[in-house]
């Protein structure tokens, strides 16, 4: 029992360093991708959830988890779980602050299911101005859209609301 608890703690500590390969300022637990860590015998079971159906980073993240735990001398099994489905509301407060500091606007707390032709209003992560426009709802990765600030003229990415 004690051994299992300490194995789980060692695993959690090792997982603190696993980051999203596409947004390296965020760890997988900041993002809400890391769902469960449990111990069975001498093996640690890690459950993660995909952000988007086609997210190509999931394979990389699985590999990074296995590598991080193997470096800590831990046998690991990584499993993907679809339900309940990930939502951008699971980003932690720390994650939202880190995103903004990284120049990516955090997702608004609304559903992606807004009126068909309306656009989300976002504050510029560089200068804070609310005078921004959307250039494209599809950005450099599946989880980001592309915007421009009319005040400071800088382009910026925004984490999509899902």
């Amino acid at each position: 029992m004690v051994a299992a608890a300490s194995l789980r703690e060692r695993a959690l500590a090792a997982l603190q360093d696993v980051c999203d390969p596409e947004i390296p300022v965020l760890t997988i637990s900041d993002l809400g991708i890391l769902r469960h860590v449990s111990v069975s015998g001498d093996t640690v079971d890690v459950t993660i959830t995909p952000t988007y159906s086609g997210c190509p980073a999931m394979t990389m993240i699985t590999l990074d988890i296995e590598t991080a735990l193997s470096r800590a001398g831990i046998n690991a099994r990584v499993r993907t779980c679809l339900s309940p489905a990930w939502t951008s509301d699971w980003l932690t407060v720390a994650a939202r602050e880190k995103l903004a500091a990284h120049g990516v606007a955090p997702p608004p707390h609304t559903s992606s299911r807004r009126a068909l032709f309306s656009a989300a209003q976002l504050a510029c992560p560089h200068c804070g101005s609310a005078d921004t426009e959307q250039l494209s709802e599809f950005g450099s990765t599946a989880c980001k859209s592309l915007h421009r600030c009319r005040a400071c003229r800088e382009p910026f990415d925004a984490f999509k609301c899902h």
Partner: protein, 249 residues
Amino acid sequence: MATTSITVEETPLVRQVLYRADDALILGHRLSEWTGHAPILEEELALANIALDLIGQARLLYAYAGELTGHGEDQLAYLRDAPAWRNCLLVELPNGDFAFTITRLLLFAAFADPFWRTATASSDSTFAAVAAKAEKETAYHLRHAAEWLIRLGDGTEESHRRAQTAVDDLWPYTGELFAAVEGNAMPSPASLHGVWKETVDSALSRATLARPQDGWMQSGGRAGRHTEHLGHLLAELQYLQRTYPGATW
């Protein structure tokens, strides 16, 4: 050897999963053909992103079909001949011009959006989980296609003409989306016709485009009777596994 085509034992549930998986993969493949050819950079990213969402949805669904049939995700995608594919004809038609691609995406997404939203309440838990992801992604696809269709229809004389031609040419392929499906793990397609028509009508009228009369509708895709275009698409999609059986990287 693995080049031998597989035969899938299709229960009603397997067929329902394959309808959705095949629609998503074939449309995703068609959209991916735009990579490197889109009219502007933002659109290049958008079409590739939408293709990625669809291929992602297809993978989740093939993984589920794999659990039900014993065939792996890759076998289902790479080792079925054209008559074993269950996608509707709408998604396999060649891309045509940009107006045709966007109009097709709108007609499909206007169906997929309420379909996945309804499917989130499915009694089949795997299907409901896939739907919970897909419905959010599809909302973006629908909005993107609708916004473009309005720009094209309400744009120049040339863009209007091309958009109207696309609507007219694609219309006979929309009936198949609503064909009755055996089994009740998924929403009945016919029950979504009203909301589909409302969405499409609203986009067409904003785009100043005319909605064609419902007439005779094309069908056959769900039964494996495809247009000649699917064979060409599969030749490219399956080339590697057919040539180098079991290749991995």
